[in-house]
Symmetry: C2
Subunit: 283 residues, 2 copies
């Protein structure tokens, strides 16, 4: 992998449960899911409150907010912004009554680009100058994929989606730079066209894939060793499809080292009240 | 029209030519179009360098850039951002060798929300702290509409597209607020579905319409008196279709009064090297 940094961009992580957070979680309302996570439940959110939009979180000091918003504008496939809060606010128009400091399953707290904590509540870390970015998540398009008959291997296998740091650099913005991160789903050949079409119609949640087929084209040397999430076992003939991933801002934090940031833990997303259909292009 | 301001949001304008800037302009390359405009040619750009993406321009002092970028993020239908320059730069990744200070047909210069000049070159007004926003333009989807057989009345009639200030307020961002501006095209009933589909697939250039049918639903009292551009005569049975318009940031300038701004003159857009197809959702 071509990296300009001399340290790895991945970090040791708290050991997440690889099974769904609750066998009934797919039927929860988003408000119920947020309440459970507020009460301390943690784990990957794929399939939770099915049909409701999940988002990546990154909160940075107001002094870094313009660089982050510009980074997102210049890299819309990995960083499609669905909401930006006013400085210090922990509410969002995307989820009625939600508290961004408590309602995610698990967070990551970063100082100078280093992971310093992985709590399930960040009230103790909160600062009055934090601006929060809510960024589209590929979990959103999994209901569209499933609806079109495309098998989702990591859901079948009860694992978090595998994510990889690529050799593609994002377009820099101010003090922010870093590589693009992708999520990968192995797709049977007869379902590739449907996967392209369904995800292409959802540009607010990364849209169509950035690559299909050869992992080495993205600088990925071993699909069995993802940088985030869990390895997934493909079926024979499955084609690996790669979508730009909302963990990309975390890679930018690791590469660019802002003094402080709070993010979600990869795969453990914020549940909004929005419905996936709202972000689907009508055509 | 419900406006919170006690002064009109429209302004007297230089009288633009209502015919195409040149009978051969549709076949120009974007570089040729920019060169002609740099040499002083001015006029509406609908149909110029056909198939190439045209964009709205708004340049604001760096101190206002975060508010403007956030305003665009919060109002993506009127303000889909295609590029943002670094402060002071007059180049863009969207057009090789272009100079944003000279290559538009006509500009508007604003001080404290008031129009103070409409030159064809803004080098004398340029400041080293200006950040320029290039925002998608509905002219881009007119080639898709024409390709689908949808008649474009204002092009048939050799006029600039009519634009209206609506009663819908944009979501504010920092110091910026203002009403949404829309462009209007009268569409025969049998072509409405195609117009919806074709524009829906182009979210980077405003996407599908915000309203079809009743102008009063948008607070528009007289389609014959647009706030920008020219009135267009509909055919009997034509249905007025309204798309969010990139003049919206100019309405925000008039309502919010930043100390300084430079914009394009409505309908006289910047020609990029990008092709309209690049912004079409593949589905």
């Amino acid at each position: 992998m071509n990296r300009t940094e001399d340290r790895p961009l991945t970090v040791a992580t708290a050991d997440p449960p690889v099974t769904a957070v609750d066998e009934h979680a797919h039927a929860w309302s988003p408000a119920t899911a947020r309440a459970r996570f507020r009460d301390g439940l943690a784990g990957p959110t794929a399939g939770v409150a099915a049909g409701h939009t999940q988002v990546n979180l990154i909160s940075v000091p107001a002094d870094w907010a313009y660089d982050m918003l510009l980074f997102c504008q210049r890299n819309p496939k990995p960083c499609p912004v669905l909401d930006v809060t006013d400085a210090g606010s922990w509410t969002t128009v995307l989820a009625n009554g939600a508290d961004l400091r408590t309602d995610l399953p698990r967070y990551r707290v970063w100082r100078d680009g280093e992971l310093v904590d992985e709590p399930t509540d960040v009230r103790a870390h909160w600062r009055g100058d934090l601006v929060s970015f809510l960024i589209g998540c590929s979990f959103t398009f999994e209901s569209a994929l499933a609806g079109a008959g495309v098998p989702i291997r990591h859901v079948e296998q009860g694992r978090n989606v595998p994510m990889y740091v690529t050799s593609r650099q994002c377009r820099p913005a101010g003090r922010l730079h870093g590589p693009m991160v992708v999520s990968m789903r192995p797709v049977p050949p007869q379902h590739v066209a449907a996967a392209l079409r369904e995800t292409g119609l959802l540009p607010a949640v990364h849209g169509g894939p950035v690559h299909c087929g050869d992992p080495s084209a993205l600088g990925i040397t071993d699909l069995g060793r993802p940088d985030f999430g869990d390895p997934v076992v493909p079926e024979p003939d499955d084609i690996p499809m790669f979508w730009a991933c909302g963990v990309t801002p975390q890679a930018a934090v690791m590469a660019s080292r802002p003094p402080f940031a709070i993010t979600h833990a990869p795969g453990q997303m914020f549940l909004t009240d929005a419905r996936d259909e709202q972000y689907r292009i009508v055509a």
